[in-house]
Each structure stands twice: as C-alpha cells, then as structure tokens.
C-alpha cells in the first residue's frame, strides 16, 4: 500500500463519488416522497398491479412484496439504489488499471519505485473508500427519508439495517469482477460500456429470471444474492447465495493480483 497512490486515486474518484451521491439522494428522496400516497391507496394499487402482466411485476420485484408497508416499499426503492451502486462499482472495477493504460499514464506510475502489488492494493483501497462514502450517503439519506415519509407506519429496524448493509458486499462483487474482466480482455478502450453492461446485465439477469424458465442463471448475479424483496420478506440474507457471492469476490480479486503482477503494460507502438 502506497499512501501517495491512494491519495491520488481517491482524489480522482472524488467527482464521481459526488455525482453518484447526488443521484442516489434524489432517487431515494423522490421515491420515498410518494410512499404516503402509495400506502393510502394500497388496496387500489395492489388491485391495479394484479392487472399487470406477471412478467412485468416480476421484473420490478412487485410480485413478492407488499408495497403498502414501509419496508416493502423501501425494498422497491433499494433495487434502484443497488442498480446505481452496481454501475458505480463496476465503473471503478473496470477503470482501476485500464484507464491508466488507455491514457498511457501507467508507464509513469509503474516506473516509480512501487511494486505492482502496492499499486493494485492502493487503487483497490481508494476505490473501496470511495464506495464507502457513497454507502454512507445512501444510509443517511435512507434513514432520513424513512423518518420523514413513513408517516408513523411501523417497520422492523433490524431488517432495515440488514437491507442497508447488503450493499457493502454487493458492490465488492462488481468492483472485483469488473477488475478481473478488465485484466482478462486485451485492452479496455472505454470503461462506460463495460460498466453499464455488467451492472445492467446483472440486474436484468435477476429481473427477468422468470422468463428464462428453469435455467437458474440468476444464481450468478448479486441482485439475486442480495434480493431486496427476499431480505424484507424473510428478515435475513440467503446465506448460501451470500457465501457464493463472497467466494466470487475472493476468486476475482486473487486472480486480479495474479494477472496484474504478470501483466505486460501496453504502450503505443
């Protein structure tokens, strides 16, 4: 770990952290604002939802939860929070070493007296710190919005906290998997399509899993591992799936170190 690289990396992420934080605050507050209306009209709404095609309801996770309860409604909001976090973490993962290589500053950095391990560790920690700041913003905003907009409805605080904490491991998946993919492909020219692909892809895989029939493809996506509706419904995590998630993260990060230490840094030719 090199404090110098960490600081530099962290500063590089700062603007993106602010942008994502503002977006997330808006998403949470705006959706939470409508909760009062939802809960009052719960009966009407649930009737209306029944007329929707089941696939559509499944796609938005509306088949599993009762939108008239605080947590039921919040699990719906949190799915969008997860989607944003997934894209943000994927972006950091894919960009971690590839941006320097694409902009050809990697030669500058790696000709300094630092090891590849130090470089990768510093970069990973800076990205994780940036994600943690985003998490804090999400947590504080969620807490405030629920305090303001729950309108006296009861909810289980423990489940709420479990739901909030789920993004911690959730985002590491996208960071780690993004990183290892970026090291496996020859050259990442632009990070955005990769990040959107991984983030949305994982979301869609879970959302439309019902349509794929018996193929259990959704088991590989963190949106399933940390299914907000499941957490709210059962008041806990799906332990085997969370363990699977953690295993994927560990393998991805270990493989990333292995690949990065052996990597030939590309140059213009």
């Amino acid at each position: 770990m090199s404090a110098t690289i960490y600081k530099h990396e962290f500063r590089t992420h700062l603007r993106s952290v602010i942008n994502w934080s503002v977006a997330l605050i808006l998403i949470i507050l705006i959706y939470a604002y409508f909760f009062a209306t939802f809960s009052e009209q719960a009966a009407v709404l649930n009737d209306a939802l029944k007329n929707f095609p089941p696939q559509l309801r499944a796609a938005f996770g509306l088949d599993k939860v009762d939108m008239s309860t605080v947590l039921g409604y919040f699990s719906f909001i949190f799915m969008f929070v997860q989607l944003c976090i997934a894209i943000q973490a994927s972006y950091y993962g894919f960009g971690l070493v590839s941006i320097e290589e694409a902009e050809l500053t990697a030669d500058f950095l790696l000709s300094k007296p630092v090891s590849r391990t130090q470089v990768l560790t510093s970069k990973l920690l800076a990205a994780i710190s940036s994600l943690l700041i985003t998490d804090l913003v999400v947590w504080v905003t969620s807490y405030i919005s629920i305090a303001i907009f729950s309108a006296g409805h009861e909810y289980d605080a423990r489940t709420f906290i479990l739901l909030q904490l789920s993004i911690l491991i959730f985002q590491l998946f996208f960071l780690g998997v993004g990183l290892v993919i970026s090291l496996l492909v020859r050259r990442v020219r632009s990070v955005t399509p990769y990040a959107l692909g991984l983030g949305f892809g994982a979301y869609v895989l879970n959302a439309f899993s019902g349509m794929l029939g018996d193929v259990k493809l959704e088991l590989i996506t963190p949106f399933k591992h940390f299914d907000t509706a499941y957490i709210v419904k059962t008041g806990g995590y799906d332990t085997p799936l969370v363990l699977l998630n953690v295993a994927v993260i560990l393998v991805a990060v270990a493989a990333s170190y292995w690949l990065y230490i052996r990597r030939d840094i590309p140059s213009v030719s």
């Binding site: 902009e103 500053t105 790696l110 630092v114 030939d264």
Partner: protein
Amino acid sequence: MSIIEVTNLTKFYGKSRGIIDVSFAEEEGEIFGFIGPNGAGKSTTIRLLLSLIHPTSGSAKVFGKDVTRYGPELRRDIGYLPSEVYYYEGMKVIDLLKYSASFYDRDCTQRIKDLSDLMELELNRRISDLSYGNKKKVGIVQGLLHSPKLLFLDEPTAGLDPLMQRKFFNLIREENARGVTVFFSSHILGEVQRLCTRVGIIREGKIVEISNIRALQQNNYKKVRVTAEGLDPAAFELPGVTNMQTEDGTLNFFFKGDVNAVLQKISALQVEDVSIEEPTLEEIFMHYYE
C-alpha cells in the same frame, strides 16, 4: 560492476517479435547509445529493464540485481524519460511533479525548481494545455528530479527545439559528469555521436553491433572515393569492400581491412581525384541496415 547487464534477453508479444537474444553490458558512468529504426526493439528493451513488461526468456540485471525480482527497489535510483510522454491531463505541472517526487524518500523541491528553470518549464500550467515539446520538458524534469543514478532516455529530443536540445544535452553531460550512467536510445545518429561513448545497434530485434564510437568510425570502415579514367569497378572487388556504387566515373565504396590493398589498386590507375575518409555514423548505420 556493470550498471546494466542484459543476458540473452528475449521478448515476444504473443507471436510478434519484440527483441531476440539481446545481450550487452553498460559500465558505470557510461553514456551508452542504443540505435535502431522505429520498431527495432529499443523501447521494448528499456521497458523490460524497468519491468513494465516481462521477458519471455533471458535475464536483465540493473545495479547487479535482477530487474524482475528487485524492480521496486531498483527503480528508486532510475530515472525514465519515455519516448511518448503521457501524464494525467487534469493535473497542473507542479502537482504532477510533486506527485512524482512523493514516490522518493528525499526532498526534491529545490531540484524541481532548478530543472524547470533550466528547461523553461512553466509550473502552473495544466498538462492538457501543454504542447508536445512542453510535455517532453515535463518528462525530463520528472525523470531527473530524484537525482537518479541511472537514466533511461527513450528518444528524448523529439519535440524539443534545437536550443532546448542543446540545453538538454548539456544537462545530460553534467549529470554524467556527476557519475550518472545514461542509456540513450535514439534513431538520430548525430545526437548519439555527440553524446555517447559506446553504441549498440539493434535491428529487427537483434543486436548487430556493439562498439566504441571511435572504434566504429576509425578502425572499422573507410569511405573510399575514386575518380579515374577507365575505371573498372571489378578491379576493386576485394574482400572487405561493400556498398560499391559507380556514378559518372566515380567509384564509392566502404572498405574494412588493410588499407594498403586498396591503395595498390588505386596506384595502378591514372587517378583524377581520390579521398579516403572516416564515414559518418549515419553512413555506418545505413550500412548495417541494408
């Protein structure tokens, strides 16, 4: 002790050739010129020595230690000026230089000031606003600010105007006088001739010659030019004669060997004009490439 010691170093990028079986050594305090056209493997060699890329086979040592194993430790005393300079576009020059200095455990503030004064580099400009030549200056200051013991210069003069080139050469000579070993890669022979004591010539990934510059010029080849009536090129088909060209009754060729053999042939002719001189490095170089 050799500062750089390269033994049978080979690098392939997948199937495409980087360098093949390169071996050479550079002694302390030398300015070693590394000459070759674009794509010959000059940058590949330097990037291997900095362990930016890893060898396919063979080994390289800097300061007596293997570059792959001791890379971070060795790079404390290495300065590198890449051929293409790319820095963090959003940063200011001074911030980049401070970032660069923060990797070394010594205070580089005064040195940054001295070097940027010398190279007339404005410290408060944004990297993205700099011209290629100015970026090159950033590269020079960045490569020298920690007072390295070994300098890798990869085509360093591209983009610098002649005045700056001269300042830069003086700077390199001063560094060298202080004991800094310089590895100077270039395809411009004039500058190598001005600066280097020894040269290695690389062609299509392979070293074709390593020699003292003086030796290369004096002992190896003579450039012979004979103008005479009834000149018969065939008469000069001696061992050691190369690059023979006839032009309007004038015969040009390179000769390596006992010069008396040529003189005997010439003395048999009714000569109008004759010259025997040392070829420029440029001519030697072209000779290696044809």
